[in-house]
Symmetry: C2
Subunit: 492 residues, 2 copies
């Protein structure tokens, strides 16, 4: 029936049949036409899909050209390892086990140096541990002739179960997940092939050496050709997120208090800035995996081997904590834009609210700068002081807005009607103010975590000219030093 409706507007051929009624004449060519159209449509859709996919791939490449370089590095590593096969002298040395070198390269080569190192070390350690254990179990099984298959089977069952279970324990999962898998794999292979292959030790030694060749190839290429450091990435991610947080805080409050007189293209840019806090809320998983890999990395750039990467996670958590509040603020501003507060109240509070938000975002920007440069900031204490001052100012402003609330028994408010404002009209403003105060206290949390980071990572002091106050404050430490030198002289 539906079909009839669809073709309502079309012409059709009818033929009169013997009983008097007419029948629709459906030409065969129509079927052919339909199939043809279907095929064309299908191919067009396919081309469109492929085109979209390619466009997406192109965007990925443009967005981060290092990914393209990584791919070429993988290709290079595989080609170099293949040489072991193509060049006869090398082939005769390593033998058919060269397969393991290729497998190692494919499985171990990761995007960042830290991830590659982690996998290499895990693979090496897992293979070595399981290999020696497997040889041991084989030796034991070999000395008890008839029980050999039972001992081997039972050892595979129990060790595989135990190693699989260890992968569920958070501390193992975080660092040694891959190693545990390789342990199971190697142990099963060794204990099973030990039953067939007699030259087990030779096999194990060859396999280890080919894995070492593959792994060292990966490490050399990943560290020498345009290295991508997980630690560096984490550092950049956290500082960029701090800037984004500052920008969205600024933008969010400015949007509420200022009249929007800016042109529309500028507005689009600012709304993009405003949404920056969402990046902060969503980057937990990325931060964790980067920190996990960064731990394995050697010293690089400005980062030492034992750089406190875990502290970056705490900074990230503090920022997210702050981001939740900005999210709520954003929501409250959007929903309350209908019920505007009276202008005179807005005027009274807007200046001090804007000041608090700009001081808070200043603190965040200063912290971002401090983390970026890895130098102690001389301005940060001052910025924090200003922020706290602004909090007090806002609280004072709220206090100085005396509110006449009439408790139930008293009903003489009628005479004050001309200036009475229901609480609901000031509610949005008060909420914004409260949330700003809360945000300021959470910004202090971010400060505390960055301060801890600066202590753990030994951020350098800035040695250009300091303001006078700081010199006065630092004098006692000079005195202390003087006393210490005197002491040292006496002791000598």
């Amino acid at each position: 029936m539906g079909n009839e409706k669809n073709t309502a507007g079309e012409l059709e051929w009818r033929v009169r049949v013997e009983d008097g009624s007419s029948e629709v004449l459906k030409p065969e060519i129509r079927w052919f036409h339909r199939v043809w159209l279907g095929l064309v449509g299908f191919f067009l859709k396919l081309v469109l899909r492929v085109w979209k996919f390619l466009k997406k791939a192109w965007d990925v490449a443009v967005d981060d050209p290092r990914k393209v370089i990584h791919c070429l590095k993988v290709g290079l590593a595989l080609s170099v390892v293949s040489l072991f096969y193509y060049m006869r002298p090398l082939y005769q040395g390593v033998g058919g086990n060269a397969m393991w070198a290729i497998m190692t390269v494919v499985v171990v080569f990761e995007h960042t140096v830290g991830a590659t190192l982690a996998k290499c070390i895990n693979r090496g350690a897992g293979t070595f541990l399981a290999g020696s254990l497997g040889v041991g179990v084989n030796w034991v099984a070999g000395h008890s002739r008839e029980f050999e298959p039972i001992i081997l089977g039972a050892s595979v069952f129990f060790l595989a179960s135990a190693a699989t279970f260890s992968r569920f324990i958070p501390s193992v999962k975080q660092r040694f997940d891959y190693g545990a898998m390789i342990f199971i794999l190697t142990f099963s292979l060794v204990s099973v092939s030990g039953y067939r292959v007699d030259k087990l030790l030779d096999l194990a030694q060859q396999r280890l050496s080919t894995i070492a060749i593959g792994a060292s190839m990966c490490i050399i290429i990943t560290m020498l050709v345009c290295p991508i450091w997980a630690g560096q990435d984490l550092h950049v991610l956290v500082t960029r997120n701090m800037d984004k947080l500052a920008n969205s805080l600024d933008g969010c409050v400015a949007e509420y208090f200022e009249d929007s007189t800016s042109p529309s293209d500028k507005e689009e840019e600012s709304s993009k800035k405003l949404q920056g806090y969402k990046c902060v809320l969503n980057s937990k998983a990325t931060e964790e995996s980067l920190a996990n890999f960064a731990i394995w990395e050697p010293a690089h750039g400005r980062f030492s081997f034992r750089h406190p990467w875990v502290q970056y996670l705490k900074v990230g958590a503090a920022m997210r904590n702050c981001g939740y509040c900005i999210e709520a603020l954003n929501g409250c501003i959007a929903i309350n834009s209908e019920t505007q507060a009276p202008q005179f109240v807005k005027n009274h509070l807007s200046e001090v609210c804007m000041r608090l938000s700009s001081h808070s975002s200043n603190v965040l920007k200063e912290l971002a700068q401090m983390t970026k440069s890895m130098k102690k900031s001389t301005k940060i204490d001052f910025a924090i002081g200003e922020m706290n001052g602004a909090v007090l100012d806002l609280q004072d402003a709220l206090k100085s807005l005396p509110t006449q609330l009439t408790p139930p028994p008293q009903t003489n408010t009628a005479v004050l009607a001309p200036t009475a404002v229901p609480l609901i009209e000031v509610a949005p403003l008060v909420t914004v103010a409260s949330l700003l105060i809360e945000i300021a206290s959470r910004v202090e949390g971010v400060f505390a975590s960055v301060d801890e980071l600066s202590r753990l990572a030994n951020f350098k002091a800035v040695n250009d000219k300091k303001p006078k106050q700081n010199q006065i404050i630092s004098r006692p430490s000079v005195d202390n030093q003087g006393q210490e030198t005197v002491k040292a002289l006496q002791e000598v």
Copy 2:
């Protein structure tokens, strides 16, 4: 010098040497003692660490016994596959390639059915595609004698680079990451060993069949022995999170308005309930991976093959959106507990605030129940209505609290001093009220996403007795049906 200070309180033996000064006599036994103590301390620490590790492992096992079952399943699968080695007839059939069956089991066997299926399908498809492509390239290379190594090397370089790059494209990464890796691995191995091994097709066929054996073993064991379904897990996670969200909303508001007269052990439990929203905020990554695996699963339990798993992610996002606001509410309540609002204002608002929060959490609980049972709820519209009514009531209550705000020029507030309350004292209450209104609007967002889910997943209508109103409302649809049957009869 520091060393001397440390031992300041201790006795020491001194001996007078030739130049008249005295020298400390350090008995050798002391060193031995120290080393002994150090060793004992080291071992105690080691034992303590191992003990802690075992305790953690025990907690993991107790927390989710299915994990232990999974480990036994892995052991079982490996033991069964090892049989191919131990039993001579089977071994002669499959040959040394049985190694690939073991490798497949170790690599492919995952915790959930969906993850295992995804890896099996990826591994099979990747191996088949790369294998046939590798054989093709080998054929071409074989026909151009002197260029053979160049063609093979170049093909490995380019295909490996391209496949590695594809792993960065989000849609590929999400579903086919493992397949792309296997593709690179197989292609490299085939094109490289093709240069040495002549019976390439035989090898490829054998390898595919052993992989098929390993994979089918995994699939059979994972689906038949206590299967753990990713979809089921996702369903439970989302509904449990919804309940947690409702509980923390309730607890948070009750804590603020009620006097805490409950005993301390009950308080601890309630504070644990209160922190439930944090689970919601942190479960994004888990939800995404579960949804990713659930897509691969066949119909199981109450879930059909094409169950709208992606919609669960949207429900999760809506819940997180709600959770951000609860986080902010929690923060505001904690920070503002010092500046208490005057009692009469609190009394005026507390009842309506509590009502709104309990209606909001009722809606959440009803939605959780609806998702849990996968049946349409008859009460949900009523609950939403009540919540919206409570929002209006709260807004009315705020309106009916007339606030006397004095604009700057007017300064006659002095006479009203006895009842004047500065805005700052009501700020926390107003903030709580605003945030509750915002939360209610976000709960509606959760409702919208669950409603969409119920539509997509064809939740059944409840067929037990409905309230009268619903019957009246549903009458037109009965009429419609009647009309349709009449129509159908006419048409026949």
